[in-house]
């Protein structure tokens, strides 16, 4: 039972191949069924054959032949299924994940245990490297699925699941939570950025930088507000005493291209809109509505938007 994983075939290709085999067989069966139905409808129509037909009870030979045919096809697919399964899902005995994803209502927490990077929603992986994902959930059942990167895997509270992730081309891959997880399920989308290893390293180094500081008065005011308005009860910022894990980690928030689980482009206007009334932007979100004044809002946005 030695299972090797060759880098040439990705999970998606394996699954796609299998799907194409299936599709061909299914299409043939379907075509035959439809063909015979219409052929018989045409040929044995009562307008053409008004006489009472011969009352036959069927033929055992035909049944046995077709049953054995069906069994053979099934056996082939059982073999294909099991062999492909072994290739797609071969998790070692003591898995050491490259990336730990935790599903929250309704955002993704991503940790890179090797480098210690913690981020949210912005998921970067190196191209050409098979990385092991560890999937957990913090609240309800979610499901990780990036169609172009292969299979989905449920995130079940109390269970830990693993799967391989492999991207062979640089680019951004869109995915989504695919197990209903509450009101904003539709808004729980995934964007995986696959970078060449160099860029990925650069990104990691950037993420590991200490939290940004500034002498800008707005920034300082924003920081004060951030602490005073209990934002820190939910959001962590590395290098500060605030390490809550209820909302996304905001240490390098401004370096992310999008926020709210890929819902909005990360710019000042959208951030302002979000802070003004979270329910209006993403209905159901657990972020409370703080009712900030215009000034407070500006300060907070300046602060958060400088966390690079």
């Amino acid at each position: 039972m030695t299972l090797t994983f060759s880098l040439e075939t990705t999970n998606v290709e394996l699954i796609n191949n299998l799907f194409i085999y299936f599709l061909v067989v299914a299409a043939i069966i379907f075509f035959l069924v439809v063909f015979y139905i219409f052929y018989y409808l045409y040929k044995y129509n009562s307008e053409k054959r008004p006489d009472l037909p011969e009352q036959r009870e069927g033929s055992v030979k035909v049944e046995i032949f077709l049953t054995s045919l069906a069994t053979t096809i099934t056996a082939v697919f059982v073999y294909l299924t099991i062999s492909t399964m072994g290739k797609v899902q071969n998790i070692p005995e003591n898995p050491e994940p490259f990336l730990q994803i935790t599903g929250h209502q309704w955002w993704w927490e991503a940790k890179y245990p090797n480098s210690g990077v913690t981020t949210a929603n912005q998921i970067h992986i190196p191209v050409g490297k098979k990385v092991l994902l560890q999937l957990n959930s913090a609240d309800v059942i979610h499901s990780w699925w990036v169609p172009e990167l292969g299979r989905k895997m449920d995130m079940i509270p109390g269970n830990t699941n693993y799967m391989w992730l492999y991207a062979d081309k640089e680019g951004e891959y869109l995915g989504t939570c695919s197990e209903f997880c509450g009101q904003a399920h539709a808004r729980m989308r995934i964007r995986v950025t696959a970078q060449n290893p160099k860029d990925f390293e650069a990104w990691q180094t950037q993420q590991l930088k200490p939290v940004a500081t500034s002498e800008n008065s707005n920034f300082i005011e924003g920081k004060r507000l951030f602490e005073q308005k209990t934002c820190t009860n939910c959001h962590a910022i590395n290098g500060t005493p605030y390490q809550a894990n209820i909302g996304p980690n905001l240490t390098h928030f401004a370096s992310r291209k999008r926020f709210l689980a890929d819902m909005k482009i990360n710019n000042k206007e959208n951030l302002k809109e979000w802070l003004e009334d979270p329910q209006k932007v993403k209905s159901g979100a657990h972020m409370p509505n703080f009712i900030f004044s215009k000034k407070e809002l500006n300060a907070l946005v300046t602060y958060i938007h400088n966390l690079k």
């Binding site: 069924v33 099934t74 299924t81 399964m85 309800v140 292969g150 695919s178 209903f180």
Partner: protein, 551 residues
């Protein structure tokens, strides 16, 4: 010399509409025919509600970033759409047809337990009412029709909707168990004395097997529902992982019920098709014994396939492989049935009536649904495509293309028997074409939507390539179906206003229900024709070439 056997008089008159006048007597009736009709009306009523919900869903999804209904409302609507259609439309419709027809088809005057029969109906009814009462009590259930915890637990869904869902389903579950008990006992004890168990008409045989499925499946659901209810109302911990429970156990319970449930809804439809196709091909069913035996095979196997709903929860490859094998195996008896139905048409003399139209639509669309079902047994494909619109398309091909087309065929086929009037063929054709074209338009496109990455149960979606146009066409298809249904209701309405003109056997069919007047009298059979084969009326009509004698 009389060929007929006299039926004994009932020793105790039971309440029914025929015994006295007044609409109120419907409530107290225990006559199987009236209860069957009430089941059908119940199903039709909820079908309108569920259909309207479906229309809202499709309207909401017609284009990206649509804000017709709020996300919260949307969750309630799709949850209720699924629950209504499965538990309050398909189940009552099939149980209703069974209740109406089983005694007639086996030559009995009523069900074995008439009062239990009424009790089952009112339990189902009550369950439905409770489910919908939730909207008045602070919002409907909104955790999906399979109600996965922990989302369905108090911490995440605090409105009372889920509680109503749980209690409502427990009641309908009790109702279904009662009906199933009744079916089994009726078939075993009330048959015409000449009818042996291996001479049952296929519809009865399938309802009989189906009743065993229900007896074994619903308790599993009920216990799961009870546990969830205890969780919600008495702070138990069964499905709450943070305090020692297991979120997966619910899935095991639910799908150990849920997969047999698929066959509970499909088998009676198979039975209807197995009656309709032979009658309108004017040939006996091709391979009765294979059709009947494969039913039992499906029923037995359906208990060993549930984990294919759970391939993505992280079971090991070893477990998944075995479930994949058994799931694929169940395709063999099902495929065998399709082949037998097509074989029945071979060298027949096919009369293209509306029931036959629907039977053919059933054959084609159910084959498609079955094939896409096989793709879910192939684990890697399931990993990719489960919980997407591909799955949505698949279940609709099975439940609409399978069960509902079967029910339509059954309603058009037995409507003359039930009401004494034939439904209009012209309107029936309109209904058929609008519905079938709309159905295929709506759901075939959803296969593709699923493959390009659209997950199910989202209230809106970003404007990605192709998503918009496919969704729009899908919604247009839904509108076609809606119009088709309107035609259907109009057809029923106008037909019911006409006088009764139908003879006892308008289709030249050959099972016992066609030996009695349409509609049947309160006492079904004053006397029963002799039963020596599976087609007693055929033997009467064609004494020169009767079927092989089986008793």
């Amino acid at each position: 010399m009389s060929l007929y056997i006299k039926m004994p008089e009932e020793n105790e008159p039971l309440p029914s509409l025929k015994r006295a006048r007044g609409k109120l007597l419907w409530i107290s009736s225990v006559d199987h025919k009236q209860l069957g009709i009430m089941y059908l009306w119940l199903a039709l009523f909820f079908f309108i509600i569920g259909g309207l919900q479906a229309m809202i869903i499709r309207a909401q999804l017609s284009w990206p970033e649509n804000h017709l209904v709020s996300p919260e409302m949307y969750s309630q609507i799709f949850t209720m759409h699924g629950t209504t259609m499965i538990f309050l439309v398909l189940m009552p419709a099939l149980i209703g047809l069974g209740t109406y027809l089983i005694p007639l088809m086996i030559g009995a005057n009523d069900m074995a337990f008439p009062r239990l029969n009424a009790f089952s109906f009112w339990m189902t009814c009550m369950g439905g009412v409770l489910l919908y009462f939730s909207f008045l009590a602070g919002g409907g259930p909104k955790a999906g029709w399979f109600n996965y915890p922990p989302l369905s637990e108090m911490n995440y869904t605090s409105t009372a909707g889920v509680d109503y869902y749980l209690v409502g389903l427990i009641l309908t579950g009790i109702g279904s168990i009662g009906a199933a008990l009744n079916f089994v006992t009726t078939v075993l004890c009330m048959r015409s004395p000449e009818m042996k168990l291996n001479m049952l008409p296929l519809f009865v045989w399938m309802m009989f097997v189906n009743a065993f499925l229900m007896l074994a499946a619903f308790p599993l659901l009920n216990s799961g529902l009870f546990l969830n209810l205890l969780d919600r109302q008495f702070d138990a911990h069964f499905f709450i992982p943070s305090s020692g429970g297991s979120a997966l156990l619910w899935q095991h319970f639910f799908w150990a019920f849920g997969h047999p449930e698929v066959y509970i809804l499909a088998l009676p439809a198979f039975g209807i098709i197995s009656e309709v196709i032979p009658v309108f091909s004017r040939r006996p069913i091709f391979g009765y014994k294979f059709v009947a035996a494969s039913t039992v095979a499906i029923a037995l196997l359906s208990y060993s396939v549930w984990a294919h709903h759970m391939f993505t929860v992280g079971l090991s490859n070893a477990v998944n492989s075995f479930f994949a094998i058994s799931s694929m195996l169940i395709g063999i008896p099902t495929g065998l049935k399709v082949i037998n139905w097509i074989g029945t048409m071979y060298k027949g003399s096919i009369r293209l009536t509306i029931p036959m139209f629907f039977a053919i639509a059933f054959l084609i669309d159910f084959t498609l649904g079955g094939l896409s079902g096989i793709s879910f047994a192939i684990v890697p494909i399931d990993w990719q495509l489960t919980d997407t619109y591909y799955l949505v398309a698949h279940i609709h091909y099975v439940f609409l293309g399978g069960s509902l087309f079967g029910i339509f065929a059954g309603i058009y086929y037995w409507f003359p028997k039930i009401s004494g009037r034939k439904l209009s063929k012209r309107l029936g054709k309109w209904h058929f074409w609008l519905f079938v074209i709309g159905f295929n338009l709506t759901f075939f496109l959803q296969h593709i939507l699923g493959m390009i990455g659209m997950p199910r149960r989202i209230y809106t979606y970003p404007d990605l390539p192709y998503w918009k146009v496919l969704n729009l066409f899908s919604s247009i298809g839904a509108f076609f179906m809606f119009t088709g249904m309107a035609v259907f209701f109009w057809n029923i309405y106008t037909t019911l206003k006409k006088p009764r003109t139908v003879t006892s056997n308008p289709w030249n069919a050959w099972t016992l229900e066609w030996a009695v007047p349409s509609p049947p009298n309160l006492k079904n059979f004053v006397e029963i024709p002799p039963v020596h084969s599976r087609r007693p009326l055929w033997d009467l009509d064609h004494p020169d070439k009767p079927d092989k004698r089986l008793n």
